[in-house]
């Protein structure tokens, strides 16, 4: 019996399965605490949609829900590092399979290149985690918050400028 659609390789299916599994696993790290049913359903449904359409903007939904849930609970222990790694892994998997339709086999060199990029992207994760754990926000000077806000606004404006469609 044929399990896969004609032309779809097992590697592509495995990567798409990761898109469903990784956000759910990032939420499952909270066990034994069980997230609200709405959060669970939202993550599962949106992750399934993302696995079906890896090259779609819906992919931001499960990642945002998971990150938001962990932020809302204020957990800053080791599990945040694992959650961050899982979310980056899901993003990288989606990117690798979004280079073409499901019948496009995964290029090993491309997969290796994205694995390296994923690891590179993870570098700031422990740095910010250590900073958040080691620094006291209350002791920071007030201008630091203003500078951070200005930097964020500048980043927003720069991003908006860069993603504006250019001349054909």
């Amino acid at each position: 019996m044929r399990v896969l659609r004609p032309g779809v390789t097992a590697t592509v299916v495995a990567l798409r399965a990761l898109l469903l599994v990784l956000p759910c696993a990032a939420l499952a790290l909270a066990l034994p605490e069980v997230p609200h049913g709405t959060v669970l359903a939202g993550v599962v449904v949106s992750a399934a949609a993302w696995a079906w359409l890896p090259d779609h903007a819906v992919g931001v939904v499960p990642l945002a829900i998971v990150a938001g849930w962990w932020a809302a609970h204020g957990v800053v222990d080791w599990r945040v590092l694992v959650v961050g790694a899982l979310l980056v892994a899901a993003h990288v998997a989606a990117t690798v399979v979004s280079y073409g339709p499901a019948t496009l086999p995964v290029d090993r060199r491309l997969a290796r290149r994205w694995s390296a990029r994923g690891l590179l992207a993870l570098v700031p994760l422990p740095v910010t985690w250590l900073a958040v754990r080691g620094l006291d926000p209350g002791a920071a000077p007030s201008w630091l918050w203003l500078a951070a806000a200005a930097t964020t606004v500048a980043m927003l404006l720069l991003t908006a400028r860069l993603v504006r469609p250019g001349p054909a």
Partner: protein
């Protein structure tokens, strides 16, 4: 208009990075900043990799004229690859065309070279291949150009020349030059005999050993060598059976066209003049000719044969063939008017051979219900056809099923012997 647009991956990175950082600062949720930090890197690298110029894409086929089973490659040309990291090509499926990779989807990093898509037509005819969509992706999958639809290319697929050879000679060669042995004496190389010298004989024809032995001058006589006019009549009125290309079952039209191509190639290589008459919806007539260019013209005409349900068989075949011509009628002989027209050709003095190209098209598959309506209809049609062919054979037109090499040996030998029998004309 196509331009570089941000990919969903870049949008995702940007939203998570900006949302996480701004949410962390505004709401005081430092975990958001931690989780958004990797996406800041991904977003920044993706944004920075935006290519500046829109490239122009062109795909070209290496060949535009192939035989069945041969292959060609579609190569992509991009005028500006600056900032491009990955190329993806998705070729549309075409009927009777095999693609490599199998599903026509191929992608590779630009530093490995642009990916090619190979096509191999499996059936003769005119094929449209190369319609595809191409997408270029920048570094860090930040920007995508396309998918750009590229137009298809026309590919003329010539019929595969089935291996064919015959040692039988054409019954009545009538040309001036060629490789067939003539019934007349002439300046060929085939020995006919030795006779005493007569005034007018060339001196170089004197055979000195015999002359010295007999004491009288003798000369060698040879047979002239002539070419023949060969007409191929191709029945393209109907296509019975399902064509699986060169790898699968052959329909009647497949057998007809491939047999005609094989005969044309054989006779042209032998030095004969070959003409072609296609009896089909888009009927065509190629006058007698010889040489490689003429062979290409014949094969091209055969590749354009197509059937149409409304096409009707002709009442007579007007070839303008002389009495010395040989006519091969390649047909499954399913139409009475075509059989009548063939008999008319025979009566006009041409040496006509019917090559039966029905194959097993009307044979019921194993396990089929013999009493089912389609099976009964096929059997009735076959019985009627066989009866027509028997009557045609009774008129003196040999009918041989196409079997590839040696198909025509026996009948051509018989026709040659018949041609040498003295005839009494009224």
């Amino acid at each position: 208009m196509t331009s570089w647009r941000p990919t969903p991956a870049l949008v995702r990175s940007c939203l998570l990075a900006l949302g996480g950082v701004s949410g962390g600062i505004v709401l005081g949720q430092e975990v958001l900043v931690v989780l958004a930090a990797p996406f800041v890197v991904l977003a920044a690298m993706g944004l920075a990799g935006r290519p500046r110029r829109s490239p122009r894409l062109v795909a070209r086929l290496d060949h535009h004229r192939l035989h069945e089973g041969q292959g060609t490659t579609s190569r992509l040309e991009v005028d500006d690859l600056a900032g491009v990291e990955h190329v993806t090509r998705v070729a549309a499926r075409a009927v009777h065309v095999a693609t490599s990779p199998t599903y026509g989807t191929v992608g590779s990093l630009v530093d490995e070279g642009l990916p090619g898509v190979a096509f191999s037509p499996r059936r003769w005819g005119r094929r449209a291949v190369g319609a595809e969509r191409v997408a270029l992706t920048s570094a860090w999958a930040g920007w995508r150009f396309g998918p750009v639809p590229l137009p298809e290319n026309s590919l003329v697929v010539l019929p595969q020349t089935a291996p064919y050879d015959t040692r039988a000679e054409v019954p009545q060669p009538d040309g001036l030059v060629g490789r067939h042995r003539s019934r007349r004496l002439g300046s060929g190389t085939e020995l006919e005999g030795i006779r005493p010298f007569a005034p007018g004989d060339r001196l170089k024809r004197i055979t000195w050993p015999v002359s010295l032995r007999t004491g009288e001058l003798h000369v060698v006589t040879t047979r002239a060598e002539q070419d023949a006019g060969v007409w191929l009549v191709v029945d393209g009125l109907r296509d019975i059976g399902v064509s699986g290309g060169i790898d699968g079952h052959a329909s009647t039209l497949d057998l007809t066209v491939r047999a005609a191509a094989a005969l044309a190639e054989h006779h042209v290589r032998t030095g004969d003049r070959v003409g072609l008459l296609v009896v089909a919806a888009n009927g065509a007539r190629v006058p007698l000719g010889s040489g490689p260019r003429h062979l290409q013209r014949l094969q091209g005409t055969l590749a354009r044969v197509r059937t149409e349900a409304r096409s009707t068989p002709p009442e007579r075949l007007d070839l303008g063939a002389g009495a010395g011509s040989v006519v091969h009628v390649l047909s499954p002989m399913l139409f009475t008017p075509l059989v009548t027209a063939t008999a008319g050709l025979q009566r006009s003095g041409a040496s006509v051979v019917v090559v039966d190209t029905l194959g097993d098209a009307l044979t019921a598959p194993d396990g089929a219900d013999r009493l089912a309506l389609p099976s009964l209809a096929a059997r009735m049609q076959r019985i009627e056809r066989d009866d027509r062919l028997r009557r045609l054979a009774a008129l003196g037109t040999p009918v041989v099923p196409w079997r590839g090499p040696g198909t025509l040996d026996t009948v051509l030998h018989q026709l040659a012997r018949r041609a040498q029998v003295p005839k009494v004309r009224a």
